[in-house]
């Protein structure tokens, strides 16, 4: 078994009376993309910044590439790429200049011009940081994170404020980095981002990991999927339920509109068709609804605004 790229065990972090991280544990496999998904204030940034060595754990342990991010910071810094949530450049520094400067601190940086071209930054290379748009600042920040050719990458909300094209470009880049062997840990509150990019998702709420799994596993865990179909009103739902697997529920939610809730698989659909054929019932608009990651996320973290 490989040593995890990142290992957080029982991390606790408090700011005054506020507990930002409350006994959080997670592990990141090398060469994977891991998303830390959670609502605002869930403790994502505090966790990731502790892994980056900006804070010492108040309780619990954090190991990054097998090292202590604070005590072994000097060894770790060159190996780890960091994208901060905001800022990170002199307000008067020009985009190229800033990127070149960060590149110059590394032994084998990426070719800066090629990176600029790849990220579509050619249009604003000589614009001072303070005059860049939010999305342009984000892209520069991403460029600064990867220019040193790190083996581990921390991205804190990498696509916040980006337009759809730039988001896609960022996703493509993260996927390519993984193909090249880079491990990525990213925080996000975008479901589609976590779902598209990551091998593993940790859903974090109130400073704890409340669910972990692959995007598919997370989406299909918890509440079952549903099948909606319409047919003539007044079918014998009890009889149908008996024909279907044990813990499947059938309801006629309105005359002629039926909902089957349960473990929806091809066998269930075949049984439904066979039963309807046997009853001489013509089904219309059979609709299988898979629970999405977003359903699961809201189910786990609640719908209250924060």
């Amino acid at each position: 078994m490989n040593q995890p790229a990142v290992e957080v065990v029982d991390l606790v972090m408090r700011y005054g009376s506020v507990t930002a991280v409350d006994g959080l544990s997670l592990a990141v496999e090398p060469g994977t993309v891991t998303a830390i998904l959670g609502p605002n204030g869930a403790g994502k940034t505090t966790t990731i910044e502790t892994c980056e060595g900006f804070r010492s754990p108040q309780s619990g342990t954090v190991r990054v590439l097998g090292l202590d991010p604070v005590a072994d910071g000097r060894q770790l810094k060159p190996r780890v790429g960091v994208m901060l949530q905001s800022g990170g450049a002199w307000s008067g520094a020009r985009a190229y200049e800033m990127l070149r400067h960060i590149a110059s601190l590394h032994a084998n940086p990426l070719d800066v011009d090629a990176l600029i071209e790849r990220l579509g930054m050619q249009g604003y290379g000589s614009t001072p940081f303070r005059r860049l748009s939010g999305g342009q600042q984000q892209r520069l920040s991403l460029a600064m994170a990867i220019v040193g050719r790190p083996e581990l990458l921390f991205l804190d909300e990498p696509t916040a404020g980006l337009d759809p094209q730039a988001r896609r470009a960022t996703w493509d880049l993260v996927a390519e980095l993984r193909d090249c062997g880079v491990t990525t840990v990213l925080t996000t509150h975008f479901m589609d981002e976590a779902e598209t990019l990551s091998d593993l998702i940790h859903i974090v709420d109130a400073g704890q990991v409340i669910a972990s799994g692959t995007p598919q596993a997370l989406a299909s865990s918890g509440a079952k999927n549903t099948v909606r179909f319409t047919a003539r009103p007044g079918l014998d739902v009890e009889k149908l339920m008996h024909a279907l697997p044990h813990d499947t529920k059938v309801d006629e939610v309105s005359p002629g509109a039926y909902v089957i809730a349960g473990d929806v698989d091809p066998a269930l659909l075949a049984t439904l068709s066979a039963w309807c054929a046997g009853e001489g019932v013509l089904t219309e608009s059979v609709l299988v609804e898979r629970q999405t990651l977003e359903d699961r996320f809201l189910e786990l973290t609640g719908k209250a605004l924060r």
């Binding site: 800022g87 008067g92 110059s104 070719d111 980095l177």
Partner: protein, 258 residues
């Protein structure tokens, strides 16, 4: 489209290369910053030129105005760079996450510090050279020869240590806007009444005893004594060292990197 090899190849640049890059970056930013240039070059130059006739306005004491004012202007140049300029720049670096960003890079924290010291040294060398030359062109007649200029370098180093650590003490604890306000206010106060430009002997007795304990009074008086051919008084040197040590300890205990 150029191919990018994104495969990991981590490593820190050589320390010297990192430091060179950091100093060059700081100097480039400084050279583009109008307010900083005003503070570090334009104001001292203006005061030097105006100061040649300052005895008509303020009684600076016995001797020619230019000989009294030039050492004070050199002290002001040190103050502007090592205190005001450093404090403001560092305050905004904290605010904009620059220190955090560099903290995540291979550049060690002492490298960040050395980068700042290197940039300050470069600016002060330019300031002291330019102001001395302009002073000489305006008729400044320094005593003490080469020794006096060597002593000036020592005083400038001590003054920079004292003012610089005071500046970092402010920048490392206050918000950026508050740092901006305090750093400018202190600059003006010390310029007008801190014993920088006006010889301590021209102040009332009570004020003089306070001012000679301030780094501004110590540096100003130290440089005036030096260029009068007497060398810097031991008292001035001790005052600067005490300030540097106390503020330095304060910085190491209170400075917040973000």
């Amino acid at each position: 489209m150029t191919n990018l090899d994104l495969s990991p190849s981590p490593g820190a640049a050589a320390t010297q290369a990192m430091l060179r890059s950091q100093v060059a970056m700081e100097l480039r930013l400084l050279s583009r910053n109008g307010e900083q240039l005003l503070l570090t070059l334009v104001i001292p130059l203006m005061l030097l030129v105006l100061g040649t006739h300052s005895n008509d306005v303020v009684d600076l004491g016995k001797g020619r105005s230019i000989d009294i004012i030039t050492p004070g202007i050199l002290a002001l140049a040190v103050l502007s760079t090592s205190f005001t300029s450093l404090a403001i720049a560092t305050g905004f670096e904290r605010r904009y996450g620059v220190i955090k960003r560099l903290g995540a890079s291979p550049l060690p924290r002492w490298g960040l510090m050395l980068g700042k010291i290197g940039a300050i040294a470069a600016v002060e060398i330019a300031q002291l050279t330019l102001l001395s030359v302009v002073g000489l062109l305006l008729g400044w007649d320094p005593h003490g020869g080469v020794t006096a200029f060597a002593q000036m370098v020592v005083l400038a180093v001590l003054g920079t240590a004292a003012f610089g650590s005071l500046g970092l003490l402010i920048a490392g604890t206050l918000r950026a806007e508050a740092t901006l306000a305090v750093a400018n206010l202190v600059y003006v106060l010390l310029l007008v009444g801190g014993g920088l430009l006006v010889p301590l002997s021209r102040y009332p007795e009570a004020a003089r005893h306070v001012l000679e304990l301030l780094p501004s009074g110590a540096l100003g008086q130290g440089l005036r004594d030096t260029f009068a051919g007497n060398g810097p008084g031991a008292f001035s040197v001790v005052v600067l060292i005490v300030w540097a040590v106390c503020c330095g300890l304060g910085v190491s205990r209170t400075f917040k990197w973000e």
